[in-house]
Symmetry: C2
């Protein structure tokens, strides 16, 4: 009986152990699969990441040749280490970042090395006791000053790494000089190996599948304009769809919400622009390409996105528009948002292809302005007399935001136009006059006018229309005249992999 129980408990134990082992194996397997999946995901998000990794490996293997190849090693000795270090810390994802770090490192080493040698010589003259005190004082003074300088916004943005290397090199050279008298030779060898490491980085970075920060910034700005367009394109359908179709989060919603990334894109844009300035001319970008204008365009895009965010707040809210109001307003709002969307997409295309003239931006904006006029005219009609104001507030707010959006579109069109002049975009057709593409009046002129009586023109959000007035008879305008079609085929949007 006891033996039977013991055997049973033994098989039970074995069974439990087997089960636990199985569980552990399954767990490991699941984790491995998850890890593999995240590798694929990270690689797929931007295939250039895998290439960059290979490039780093290549550059590092190249500079470690100094160790393997005897004649080189006898020349540099242990300072060969600095070449390896330089590659590891200088090699960055984009050419601009690599160049920025490389130049910073090179110049800072040169300057700090010279100063360090000077400090060493000065300290040497003050005797055996005075030397370490004076050296310590120099190091302290230099480290304190340079660290403080790193807080200056301008220096932080462009020379932060250089300042770090400056502190490092000065301290190393001046202090190690206390123990090593061949300080000049050491400094020179170190500089040479750092130069070799830096050169390896820059050469591999530029000549093996280069990643240009400038190109990335360019693509990002174009993509962001397109994302704004995507939202506006889908907005009409989403806002006016029957309440039963509303569900929490559909796939379509996700593509609509692509604009969310724009809200926090400021730092990315700034660092890309910063790196882009270091890059030599490449492809369609000259050395002094107007990168600042991209930042301006980026800021406008963000302002636009804040408005889109406000519009987004009115989606999926189960808003019930009285039927007679809905009938009237739906078409105009749809027109307005889809025309603005098309305008944005064309602007995105202008930026992406760096070609202007083949677009209908002028007529798109014209259509937008006409739609704004229709909307305003509609709001003045007696249609609203009998409606519950509380019930139509969301529709009114959305209308007001859409009118605001047209104004933003005009600002962006102007900024794109400026960019196209500064960066000398290709002209393909004169269908749009490049001199005055927009009949747009700035805010300042408007703001300077004192106390104006409320009219259609000055009441709605910062939009001033200079188009000639057409008074509608039924509260709505006939469809705007179709713009003269341009002969150039509309280029398709290439998918971006940035």
């Amino acid at each position: 009986m006891d033996m039977e129980m013991a055997r049973q408990s033994k098989t039970g134990l074995m069974g439990r152990m087997w089960l636990r082992l199985n569980l552990v194996i399954e767990n490991c397997w699941a984790r491995l699969a998850a890890a593999a999946w995240s590798v694929v995901k990270v690689g797929k998000e931007d295939p250039r990441r895998a290439i960059h990794s290979l490039k780093v490996g290549l550059a590092l293997t190249l500079v470690s040749l100094i160790y393997y190849y005897h004649p080189l090693y006898t020349n540099f000795g242990a300072t060969a280490m600095w070449a390896v270090m330089t590659v590891v810390v200088v090699f960055e994802f984009s050419v601009g970042a690599t160049l920025s770090k490389g130049v910073n490192r090179g110049l800072a080493t040169l300057l700090a090395g010279a100063l360090g040698v000077g400090a060493h010589h000065l300290a040497c003259r003050s005797g055996k006791t005075g030397e370490p005190i004076l050296l310590g004082f120099f190091v302290f003074l230099q480290a304190t000053t340079s660290t403080f300088m790193r807080f200056f916004p301008r220096i932080k943005a462009r020379y932060d790494y250089g300042m770090l290397i400056f502190i490092l090199t000065f301290s190393l050279v001046s202090v190690s000089g206390f123990r090593d008298d061949e300080i000049l030779e050491l400094a020179q060898r170190r500089l040479t190996t750092i130069f070799i490491g830096g050169a390896a980085c820059v050469i591999v970075s530029i000549f093996v599948y280069p990643v240009w920060a400038g190109q990335d910034l360019h693509n990002l700005i174009a993509l962001n304009l397109e994302k704004l367009g995507n939202f506006l394109e889908g907005f009409g359908d989403e806002f006016f769809k029957p309440p039963m179709d509303i569900d929490a989060e559909t796939t379509e919603n996700k593509s609509l919400r692509g604009y969310k990334s724009i809200l926090s894109s400021k730092s990315t844009e700034e660092s890309l622009a910063n790196f882009a300035r270091w890059e030599p001319g490449h492809g369609r970008f000259r050395f002094r390409h107007p990168w600042k204008q991209y930042l301006k365009l980026g800021a406008l895009t963000r302002e636009y996105a804040y408005r889109i965010e406000a519009l987004d707040g009115y989606l999926n809210r189960n808003i019930q528009v009285p039927a007679q109001v809905r009938e009237q307003i739906e078409e105009i709002c749809r027109d307005l948002s889809s025309e603005a969307a098309e305008g944005l997409k064309e602007l995105s295309l202008v930026v992406r292809t760096m070609t202007r003239g083949a677009d209908n931006i002028g007529s798109r904006l014209e259509n937008c302005r006409n739609a704004v006029k229709d909307l305003k005219a509609l709001l003045k009609t007696s249609l609203w007399k009998d409606t519950d104001l509380l019930a139509v507030i969301p529709v009114l707010t959305v209308s007001s935001l859409l009118i605001d959006v047209v104004k933003c579109t005009e600002k962006i069109a102007e900024a794109v136009h400026e960019l196209s002049s500064l960066a000398k975009f290709k002209e393909t057709d004169a269908s749009v006059s490049p001199e005055k593409p927009l009949s747009h009046v700035g805010d300042k002129c408007e703001a300077s006018k004192p106390a104006v009586v409320p009219t259609v023109e000055n009441q709605c959000p910062r939009v001033v229309l200079t188009v000639h007035e057409v008074v509608p008879e039924n509260g709505r305008l006939p469809a705007a005249p179709a713009p003269a079609p341009t002969s150039a085929p509309t280029p398709t949007l290439a998918p971006l992999n940035s």
Copy 2:
């Protein structure tokens, strides 16, 4: 005659040179003054910057003692350099950042050193020709894999520097082993000096005027809530002020617009939270303080700021509200925004002082809800029948946004409440029930209801009121009953220097 002219031209030349010299001196002087001014400005913005600089100088001087003090130097020799390097690259502004970098550097060096020694031994066995080939292969493989891993968002956020040091150390140890057979001793000495450098950083960072990333994050979140409150506090005056008072940019406007910095505060908050996780308990913060909750609060603050940005768009626009409408709506809107402002400021105070119970948040929110009800009731009255809809759209939009703002305030109050539970804020008084401070219903419940007939309750932006209904007779409610005053004096807000 000729001599006279020559003399004249000579004095003329002297005069011009004198003038030019004066100009150069003046120019230099102006530049020097500008530089001095910017030093003062950077220092005044955050006096801890100057202290940080002195701390770096101190730590660097401390580790360079290894060079000056003979017994130490005989121990470490040239590897003393690594202590200096470690201090320069590891010492960061906050304790968390310094600890994060120090721990990353230490662990990565240990791990990569061990692996590097292993790779060296493995390569040694493959003969004189095979060794460099195998070593090169190892370095390539390791650099490629590690570089790719740096793209994983989680690794990038917390271990990026560690990965860099891992690549560096592995390459250095395995490759330099090719030329140096005392590799183990070298690795051990390097590790020791790195440890010394890291320890110097951490000790100086923690014990000399420490800057805690956690404290900074805490202050930033509290400050941002206050900035939102500042805008809402001034909003009523700005929006309803007579048109003649509108000018481009007054001082008051600038203090109103403090909220703009919140729009792009995401990356700052994230990196502060990241560093805060590394920090030991300090002051009122435990080791595992709920830093994630701060990020949640930060995200809500940003959402709030987007709405404030939309409201801001309606300031200084010369909006003419018909007198009879203005009279009615002005008081309610002012009440609403000032109550929301006070609520935000109290929430900011709760966060800053880490004390709850002494606040009137509950009654502030109650007042807000009452104001929303008044506003909705007003919008349902016949007051609007005879007004030009186009003229009152801005007022209606602002009303709708303000109602939205109340909802956001409730969300933030809820998040602060969660934080106060998680972080165990001090309780001073039971004037507000901590269990159910907000009668607030989430969005999801609302969204799941199909096709609802528009009523006061469901029509306005995402705000569901569960307070008992009081129907106003004249379209306006009597002032909300004054909340029971708490005995605790309202603490004044200390100025922040972060």
